[in-house]
């Protein structure tokens, strides 16, 4: 069952430009998380934003959350080659009586030197 869906599926930009990825979800949530995955590796947690927050920053990352539209965006400013990775949003979902994290299919970001 898909809760979060990222858009676009793939994004290619030049080093130094900003990258924006979007996530839409279906049901009410108490938080939304973003993760990064380098090719062939595990996922790394980037940032968690709670439902009562509208915006959160961490270094070059800025995350927004619009609960009325059930959407979130991840902005990476001044992109670097090392930012090349897949980015996933994750939201809690109630499955079989328990709350678990459900991941979208991700946005594949390529930073060109």
């Amino acid at each position: 069952s898909q809760q979060g869906e990222e858009d676009p599926q793939a994004l290619s930009i030049q080093e130094g430009e900003n990258a924006t990825m979007n996530c839409s979800y279906k049901t009410s949530i108490n938080n939304l998380q973003w993760y990064r995955q380098n090719s062939g590796r595990g996922l790394v947690h980037l940032i968690l934003i709670r439902s009562n927050e509208r915006e959160k920053h961490s270094g070059r990352l800025r995350v927004t959350l619009d609960t009325s539209k059930k959407s979130s965006s991840l902005l990476i400013t001044a992109s670097r080659a090392a930012d090349t990775a897949s980015y996933f949003c994750a939201t809690p979902a109630l499955i079989q009586g328990a709350q678990k994290l459900v991941f979208g299919q991700g946005t594949r970001l390529t930073i060109n030197p």
């Binding site: 938080n31 998380q33 996922l43 996933f88 109630l94 328990a98 709350q99 678990k100 459900v102 991941f103």
Partner: protein
């Protein structure tokens, strides 16, 4: 730093073999998870555990079983591997108190590096 270690990065097995994927975390986390990741399908939850000897089915438990005899170790078992189980398997843990029932925040997951399994 939290460390989640998966025993094998790459495995090649034959159809019908029994396969064990081991995962160990060193931060005394209550909750542990097994996901599989496939192109176009994203991450799908296979099983999770919120306490020793406890397990709950995720979205796609068929063909898999799990074992959690100790808090730090969560094993995924493929009783009879099939080619459609060729995938990347990801183990994760989280410190939030179990059970993860409605009304509780689901916090950050810490992932291992993944185990890429090929079944021939």
């Amino acid at each position: 730093d939290v460390k989640v270690t998966q025993s094998s990065r790459y495995l090649v097995k034959r159809t019908g073999e029994k396969v064990f994927l081991e995962c160990v975390q060193d931060m005394d986390h209550e909750n542990m998870f097994w996901y599989r990741q496939d192109p176009g399908l994203g991450l799908r939850l296979i099983y999770f555990s919120y306490d020793v000897k406890m397990k709950e089915k995720g979205d796609i438990p068929e063909g898999y079983s799990v074992s959690r005899e100790k808090k730090e170790r969560f094993s995924l078992i493929l009783e009879s591997a099939s080619t459609n189980q060729t995938s990347m398997y990801l183990c994760a843990s989280s410190p939030f108190r179990a059970p993860l029932r409605a009304g509780l925040n689901t916090g950050e997951l810490f992932f291992g590096e993944g185990s890429r399994l090929t079944v021939l």
